[in-house]
């Protein structure tokens, strides 16, 4: 019954592809069927081809070394989070139970602090600070509009290793909506809804829609059409980019310094897009993962989280990026967990004031987030890398939050764990107490392992972390 399209229809279909495809995709299943790794191997690893020293974001065995930072909101009930004893073969705590299958690949790190998230002279606003300080390690400027944080560790790493992948970094979130009204205690909302910062006043807006992340990574259209679509888009973009680059430069000369910052942000984006076009020409297209594009944001929160984690796995698998951040929900999130029988708001509950029912519910929410992370680790562990190890082995993934005890807004002894073996450069399978060091010391040690040069300090770091 179905006939071949006329040439004219074909044109019309192509021209409307962008807007009709959403319609078309509705009704497809929500979870990605992750393809076998072999089919996605890049034709040539960019790092091996370009890195002069060979060790930037690369393991000793020549595989890509990846890092990711996953943030969960409102702290964790300390009694249920921390394992009872230190060392190897530590007993998993109640909250960390879902990681049992990968216990040998995780390192629970105690005694890491973010002193810059404490009130100091700034008064209230612990959620904004917890969130905005987490990867930056700096004291945020308390202002609703004059935002000033610091570059975040993922971006510091991406600056040096981003050149080897099509995307220097990937920023994701599962916070789809945004409330109106002022945010936390006089802090701009930017601090609370962004984890990643490319400069003190440029947050890297995270993406919440799995369809859009997927299309950005692999191109629009169905399986098999994406490479062609991406190619056509690149062709169109090239001439447009030339034009807008000239416009932006001319405009920048006409503007004051505040305004120039905005144009700088625009130009940075244009340059990044140009670089990606050049990379595609030099190194070929990304392999089409040949799975259906996700339809959009699933109504079910757990499915949304899994879909975003799946895309992170795919991005690592295809070596599309080696740096990623994921803001599960902004600190202070008052999400209702009715799906797991907890209708109250997460933030409201987290100020439990010792009420055992509330503590129980919060523990269940903490557990829910760790369950989701556990599934992510399962997938990374099951995916083989070029050197025969798992992708999890060749990764360093921080899972943590900037509030320790959500009830009291503390920022010392933060719940933080490091998953993956960093390609053999870290020793997981342990619970290590670091005894009160800045969390940025951990980040600095991770940056070292990513092969970063000339990063002496980061945020409020006081040195490297021994014994990871």
């Amino acid at each position: 019954m179905k006939k071949k399209l006329t040439a004219n229809e074909n044109i019309s279909l192509q021209r409307h592809a962008g807007l009709s495809r959403r319609h078309f995709l509705r009704g497809l299943g929500v979870c990605l069927a992750l393809p076998a790794f072999e089919s996605l191997l890049p034709t040539r690893l960019l790092a091996a081809a370009v890195s002069p020293e060979g060790n930037l974001a690369t393991t000793a065995t020549g595989a890509p070394l990846r890092t990711a930072f996953v943030y969960f909101p409102n702290g964790a009930i300390p009694a249920a989070w921390w394992p009872a004893t230190e060392g190897t073969d530590f007993p998993l705590s109640r909250t960390l139970q879902p990681l049992a299958a990968n216990q040998k690949q995780i390192q629970v790190i105690g005694g890491l602090d973010h002193l810059n998230a404490m009130a100091g002279m700034d008064g209230g606003g612990d959620h904004a600070r917890a969130n905005g300080t987490f990867l930056t390690g700096v004291r945020l400027k308390k202002s609703a509009t004059d935002i000033h944080a610091g570059i975040s560790i993922d971006q510091a790493i991406a600056r040096q290793v981003g050149q080897f992948t099509r995307f220097p970094s990937l920023e994701l979130t599962c916070d789809a909506g945004r409330n109106t009204g002022a945010c936390d205690s006089g802090y701009s909302c930017a601090y609370q809804y962004n984890l990643s910062w490319s400069s003190p006043n440029t947050p890297m807006t995270p993406e919440a829609n799995p369809r859009q992340v997927f299309e950005r990574l692999f191109g629009a259209g169905g399986p098999g059409e994406r490479v062609e679509n991406a190619k056509r888009r690149r062709q169109e973009q090239r001439s447009v980019l030339d034009f807008v680059m000239q416009d932006a430069s001319a405009m920048e000369h006409r503007l004051g310094s505040r305004d120039q910052d905005k144009l700088d942000q625009y130009l940075t984006g244009v340059r990044e897009l140009e670089t990606r076009i050049q990379k595609a020409e030099r190194f070929g297209d990304v392999k089409d993962p040949m799975v259906p594009t996700p339809a959009g944001i699933p109504a079910d929160y757990a499915q949304h989280i899994q879909l975003m984690y799946d895309i992170m796995v795919l991005a690592f698998q295809t070596d599309s990026t080696r740096v990623a951040t994921m803001l599960l929900a902004h600190d202070g999130s008052n999400r209702s967990f009715a799906d797991i029988g907890i209708p109250e708001g997460h933030h409201d509950l987290s100020h439990h004031q010792g009420n055992p029912e509330k503590i129980e519910k919060i523990t269940e929410i903490d557990l829910f987030y760790v369950q989701q992370f556990g599934k992510f680790l399962d997938k990374l562990a099951a995916t083989k890398d070029v050197d025969g190890n798992s992708i999890l082995h060749n990764s360093m993934i921080v899972y943590g939050g900037g509030n320790a005890d959500g009830n009291r807004h503390t920022h010392v002894n933060l719940p933080i764990l490091l998953a993956g073996a960093g390609g053999g450069t870290v020793t997981p399978g342990r619970f290590v107490k670091q005894g009160g060091k800045p969390a940025t010391n951990l980040f600095l040690s991770m940056a070292d392992r990513m092969g970063l040069k000339n990063l002496e300090r980061f945020g409020d770091s006081t040195g490297r972390l021994e014994n990871i």
Binding site: D146, Y193, D247, G269, R335, G345, N355
Partner: protein
């Protein structure tokens, strides 16, 4: 120009540094201070903030002759706010007279802020990126495409509660990429790239009818139920004979019901002139679209198109209201080239035929693109712009196989991706030596259109600006713009954010838990809770039986599911949002008193919302204004469903959040954020063993603590006055079996016994606070920047104008539009302005200062 401005100008021109200037001004101001202001402060303030006392870290006598007032600006700004709000001196202390208060206010404005009432500092707005709403509306008005920016772009960051603040509208590489992709998709959708296509006509589903129903709908789809037979038909009249193509678009719909499935099936037959083209079974496939294409060789004249639906499963349970939607049938043809026509939209983008010669084509491209760029950039473009765009178009259409139209379309993509489109660049009139200059009329046109319409200026505004007559005709233009339907943006975006009405769409409210609080005390439930706590608190290992019991209790207590008797359905949420918008719209359009936002004898409801509010005799879906009975607690924003729900937690009301909402958005005196270490309140409530404490009881414990009381004394009475409204905004008389006591006393002294009293008190005693708050919020929104100390003068002038008018919205809007910050911009920073350091780009550098901006 007053004497301070003179001193300033003289010193600045003489090359003195900012500090030297400030010191000179300070000396003059200090003199005045000693004579007039200090005695008042001594009498009413120094008990706590002077003579060695510095409560809250504020000692006003620290600012004496040797100290720089201007540097103490933030402290004096707080003094001014607290004095005006009646927060200081505290209600129980001796109060300065009205004249004394005014003296201090004037002194702060003129000697500390150095404000010049005749020439207020307009400040400076950071260049604004279009936010999602503005982008979407601008695309609609520029190109006629309904682009889903909410779905395609990430949310914009907000500051001061609004999403149109230049400083906070940042741009990441990801967003830049999205702008590029959006530009391509929008142009691809709107601009035809060929000049001839087969004629096409869409027959919407609604036009398929059967004689009996005689429907008169002409647009939209038509739905046929799976459960009953149906026959609908339409007659298409073909003007010419030839090859035609029919595209049939269908979709399966359902009404989702949790945990039940609907196994019904139906058969659909599609006939053309009696001949069956489609005969297919459909089952439950919620939301799935179907497309079928057929070629037809038609004679000229009428052709009958029929759909027949036959239920296939009579007797099966019908649980999900399955239906087959006929979206429409597209008839395309005749396909023979000689019958082709210009595509839809062709004339809109290509008013002439494409010229023959290369030179003429280029000239045509320049003309088209120059005009498009002018509208897209919202101001005249330089001569190079059409040239460069034509270069781009030419580079495409000179390629073999590419049309002229495709080249022009490509250049249009570049226009939409340009920073000149994405950002709102402004120019100013010549300043002629003044520190402030008027923005030019094109910038003014954009300021107006983005303020009132959240969109680009229309052709009339452009023409006024081009002729230089916009400022002359300002009030007529504003009236015209407000009458335009685009002005709904002001309600959607300003009111939607000021009153947080937008959040009603997504605020999580758990009806079951909310309603459970209104049920009578259940001893069995409470016994279970007690047992749960007992088991959970045990420090020794539980026995297996105890573990099972704990698990079962956990399930029963926290996981049980029952259908609630009322719920915030999407339909109800929409009605609530509409109510908030309609009330504002009515007051604005009828130019009624702004105080009706606080208290009125009417509101807007439809049947569903009326039922929710307990209002009778409202039938039908459409919203309408109803006059409320005298004893009704509704009327005014405080008791609107939106406000009541968005200030609640998912399972309960939050008097604290409601109190903060009123302080922040109505009275303009937001409390300080809570301190870092909140002491546990449990112990104090342990006395109540037979029932859960009410919120009033819990909050009373707060206020026993002096530290907490300083703010909770302000928030709690306001929030508790609304306790008769649950988290869904429904009226209730009791919670946990305890009657609700809404009475209280404002920190400024007025007592009230219920919400009606409170509303009256706000209108009677706090009108000026409300005018000022609304002015500040609307000015922030209109300017796209946070307000600073130098805006106090502007705000005061607008508030005075509102008061003089008797509270008219027209005075508020005109006051804002005619104000210095709306009309002007700083040419160069005045000597006292803060020095903006370029942000440190060093990796890992500590950011920010610890100084708090108030």
């Amino acid at each position: 120009m007053d004497f301070r401005t003179v001193i300033l100008t003289v010193l600045v021109t003489a090359g003195f540094t900012a500090n030297q200037v400030a010191q000179a001004v300070d000396a003059a101001a200090a003199d005045e201070f000693k004579k007039t202001v200090q005695p008042v402060l001594e009498e009413y303030c120094y008990d706590c903030h002077g003579d060695g006392e510095n409560r809250g870290g504020v000692a006003l006598d620290a600012f004496n002759s040797s100290t720089n007032f201007v540097e103490g600006r933030d402290v004096w700004w707080r003094v001014l706010k607290n004095l005006r709000a009646g927060l200081m001196p505290p209600a129980k202390k001796a109060q300065p007279s009205k004249e004394q208060k005014e003296l201090i206010v004037q002194w702060i404005k003129h000697s500390v802020f150095l404000a010049d009432p005749l020439n207020p500092d307009p400040g400076r707005v950071t260049i604004r990126r279009l936010n999602r709403v503005e982008y979407q509306n601008t695309i609609r008005d520029l190109i006629g495409v309904d682009f889903d920016a909410q779905g395609e772009f990430p949310p914009d960051d907000t500051g001061h509660g609004f999403d149109n603040i230049g400083d906070v509208l940042t741009m990441s590489p990801m967003l830049l990429e999205k702008y590029m992709v959006a530009a391509e998709e929008i142009i691809a959708q709107a601009v035809p790239v060929v000049d001839r296509v087969p004629p096409e006509q869409v027959i919407p589903g609604a036009q398929f009818q059967n004689g009996a129903d005689g429907g008169n709908k002409n647009f939209g789809p038509r739905s046929l139920s799976y459960y009953s037979p149906a026959f609908v038909t339409n007659t298409f009249s073909a003007r010419l004979a030839g090859q035609y193509q029919l595209n049939v678009d269908l979709m399966v719909n359902e009404k989702y019901v949790d945990d039940v499935f609907d196994y019904n099936k139906c058969l659909l037959i599609f006939r053309v002139d009696g001949k069956e083209l489609l005969k297919k079974d459909f089952s439950w496939e919620g939301g799935k679209p179907y497309h079928f294409n057929y070629d037809q060789d038609w004679a000229a004249g009428d052709h009958q198109l029929d759909f027949e639906l036959r239920p296939l499963t009579p007797g099966l349970e019908q649980t999900r209201t399955l239906s087959l939607q006929i979206t429409g049938v597209t008839v395309r043809g005749p396909m023979a080239k000689e019958n082709w026509v210009k595509p839809k939209n062709y004339a809109r983008f290509f008013p002439k035929d494409v010229p023959e010669t290369v030179a003429d084509r280029r000239e045509y491209a320049q003309e088209l693109l120059g005009d498009f760029a002018r509208r897209a950039f919202r101001r005249p473009v330089d001569n190079q712009t059409p040239d460069r765009l034509a270069d781009l178009a030419e580079s495409v259409y000179e390629q073999p196989g590419k049309t002229f139209e495709a080249g022009v379309a490509e250049a249009m993509v570049a226009v939409l991706a340009s920073p000149r489109f994405i950002f709102r660049e402004e120019s100013a009139e010549p300043a002629s030596g003044q520190p402030y200059a008027l923005v030019d009329e094109f910038a003014l046109a954009s300021r107006l259109s983005y303020f009132l319409w959240s969109s680009m200026p229309d052709e009339e505004l452009f023409q006024q600006a081009a002729a230089g007559t916009l400022r002359e005709n300002l009030s007529a233009q504003v009236a015209r713009m407000l009458a335009d339907k685009r002005a709904v943006a002001l309600e959607k975006n300003f009111v939607g954010q000021w009153l947080q009405a937008r959040d009603i769409e997504t605020v999580p409210i758990e009806a079951r838990s909310v309603l459970a609080r209104e049920q009578k005390f259940d001893p069995q439930q409470e016994a279970m809770r007690k047992r749960f706590r007992e088991l959970n608190d045990k420090t020794v290992e539980l026995t297996q039986a105890e573990k099972d019991e704990l698990a079962s209790l956990r399930t029963t207590l926290f996981r049980s599911r029952r259908q609630p008797r009322a719920d915030l359905t999407p339909e109800l949420r929409r009605a609530m949002q509409q109510e908030t918008e309609d009330v504002f719209d009515y007051i604005l359009r009828e130019d009624r008193s702004l105080l009706e936002l606080l208290d009125s004898d009417y509101t807007f409801v439809n049947e569903r919302l009326a039922r929710h509010y307990g209002i009778t005799n409202v039938v039908g879906q459409e919203m309408r204004r109803v006059t409320l009975p005298p004893d009704s607690p509704r009327g005014g924003i405080l008791t609107e469903g939106t406000v009541l729900a968005v200030t609640s937690n998912p399972t309960r009301t939050s008097p604290v959040k409601r109190g903060v909402f009123i302080l922040d958005n109505i009275l303009g005196t937001p409390p300080l954020p809570p301190p870092p270490n909140i002491p546990p309140l449990e112990d104090a409530l342990k006395g109540l063993t037979n029932r859960a404490p009410t919120l009033r009881e819990s909050l009373a414990v707060h206020r026993e603590n002096v530290l907490c009381a300083s703010c909770h004394d302000r928030m709690d009475p306001l929030g508790l006055a609304l306790e008769n409204f649950n988290a869904m905004g429904m009226w209730r008389d009791q919670e946990f079996g305890q009657p609700i006591d809404p009475s209280g006393k404002l920190v400024t002294g007025e007592e009230f016994s219920n919400i009606k009293d409170l509303k009256r008190a706000l209108v009677k005693n706090h009108a000026e606070d409300f005018y000022r708050t609304l002015t500040q919020k609307l000015l922030t929104y209109a300017l796209g920047r946070g307000l600073d100390y130098y805006d106090v003068e502007t705000v005061d002038q607008i508030v005075a104008r509102i008061e003089k008018s008797g509270g008219k919205p027209s005075a508020l809007l005109a006051g804002i539009i005619e104000s210095a910050p709306f009309q002007k911009t700083r040419v160069s920073s005045p000597a006292t302005a803060e020095i903006n350091l370029k942000p440190d780009q060093i990796v890992g550098a500590a950011g920010g200062t610890t100084k708090e901006r108030l």
